[in-house]
Amino acid sequence: MMQYKALEISVGLFVSAAMAALFFLAMQVSNFNALQNTNSYTLTAHFDNVSGLKTKSLVSMAGVPIGRVTEISFDPENYDALVKMRIDARYNTIPSDTSASILTAGLLGEKYIGLTPGGLDEFLQEGDAIELTQSALVLEKLISQFLFQSASKD
């Protein structure tokens, strides 16, 4: 009987070690704890060009992640891109004249949306649209612009 108890204890240790491993994977390795809560609100923004932006890309303000992109779709009426993003409900005092631009982390890094706060006293609510947007920087366009300018100077 004593032997069976030792066996039960070892099984218990095994299962709890595995549960600890799962907990570690969820909390330390993945983004399970960050921005998973349902307390969030949705904002939309129209961009002329979103090249490189993906769903789940970060939305940040002053470099701090405050939300994620949830949906990117093509708007057939305006011929531009409609981006939906979910912002953590803690940050509910974003001025309504805030501007959004698509930025790149590092030279070749991932694209993210950077919000620059405006000065109005009204705040963005659930479903509101960010009016002022700046498109993604397309490297090829920039290079051709640079080449074209330097050629016309001569």
């Binding site: 070892s10 095994f14 299962v15 491993a21 330390q28 390795v29 993945s30 983004n31 399970f32 998973q36």
Partner: protein
């Protein structure tokens, strides 16, 4: 003529085996309720299938993670991207190596033991003896082992991944001076709980089902001689390895193929 005869024989035999194994599986599933009512049987099997595989899986996980860390730093430093080491180690472990390598180890360590045990029980007519005493060996012997494998392998795979990520930390951060903050924070921002970790667990549940099914069936279906048991044990390990790698490809294509 002899050629066609042998082809026909082989295909009929393998079809018959497929049919027998499917009937066997449905019989196991029908009797799965029994070990839940008798948790003592189940715990004993979790011990022999899961707990005894723990050290093998833990040590392999540690070294696989450390190797990933070393190789990752050597390759990534060519691009000056050592800070992405955490993503590389964690994504490859959680998505692929954790479920697959722990399943291969599990097939070698626990699957072969299951086959040999059941095969020997059959050879020494313990299974028939139980039937004589009106004890259903499917309920009493097979079902607890099946359920134990089902419970143990996902736990072992989670342990493998967690210990491997820790091993990558030792090799990358402690030995080769990758930045600690970059290792963890890049990992957290890139690994998604549902897309990566839950899919890895689903993979290992499917592998557990394949391995225990193959192992128990090969033991139950073994020719009751000593040569038959040895052949069945070999078949378990070889067929499980094939099935794991094949299903891993299919599952990866299904889970990660579109994104």
């Amino acid at each position: 003529m002899k050629f066609f005869h042998s082809i026909g024989q082989i295909s009929l035999q393998s079809l018959a085996k497929l049919g027998r194994s499917t009937l066997f599986l449905s019989a196991i599933i029908n009797s799965l309720g029994y070990p839940l009512l008798r948790p003592k049987l189940l715990i004993r099997q979790i011990y022999s299938v899961g707990v005894l595989s723990f050290w093998l899986v833990a040590i392999s996980g540690l070294f696989v993670g450390m190797v990933l860390g070393l190789q990752g730093v050597y390759t990534l430093s060519t691009f000056g991207a050592e800070s992405s080491l955490g993503i590389m180690v964690a994504a490859s472990l959680v998505r692929e190596l954790g479920p697959v390598v722990s399943a291969l180890l599990f097939a070698g360590r626990a699957g072969s033991a299951l086959t040999a045990e059941i095969g020997l029980m059959k050879t020494t007519e313990q299974l028939s003896g139980m039937e004589m005493m009106a004890i259903d060996p499917l309920k009493y012997i097979i079902a607890p082992r099946f359920l134990a494998g089902f419970i143990s392998l996902p736990l072992l795979a989670a342990l493998f991944s967690a210990i491997g990520i820790w091993g990558g930390y030792i090799a990358g951060v402690e030995l080769l001076n990758v930045d600690v903050g970059a290792y963890w924070s890049q990992m957290q921002s890139a690994i998604d709980f549902y897309d990566d970790i839950v899919n890895g667990i689903i993979k290992s549940i499917i592998f557990a089902w394949i391995i225990t099914w193959i192992a128990l069936f090969e033991g139950y279906d073994a020719t009751p001689t000593s040569a038959g048991i040895s052949r069945a044990t070999t078949k378990t390990v070889v067929n499980s390895a094939f099935a794991i790698l094949l299903f891993d490809f299919l599952l990866t294509a299904l889970m990660f193929g579109t994104s």
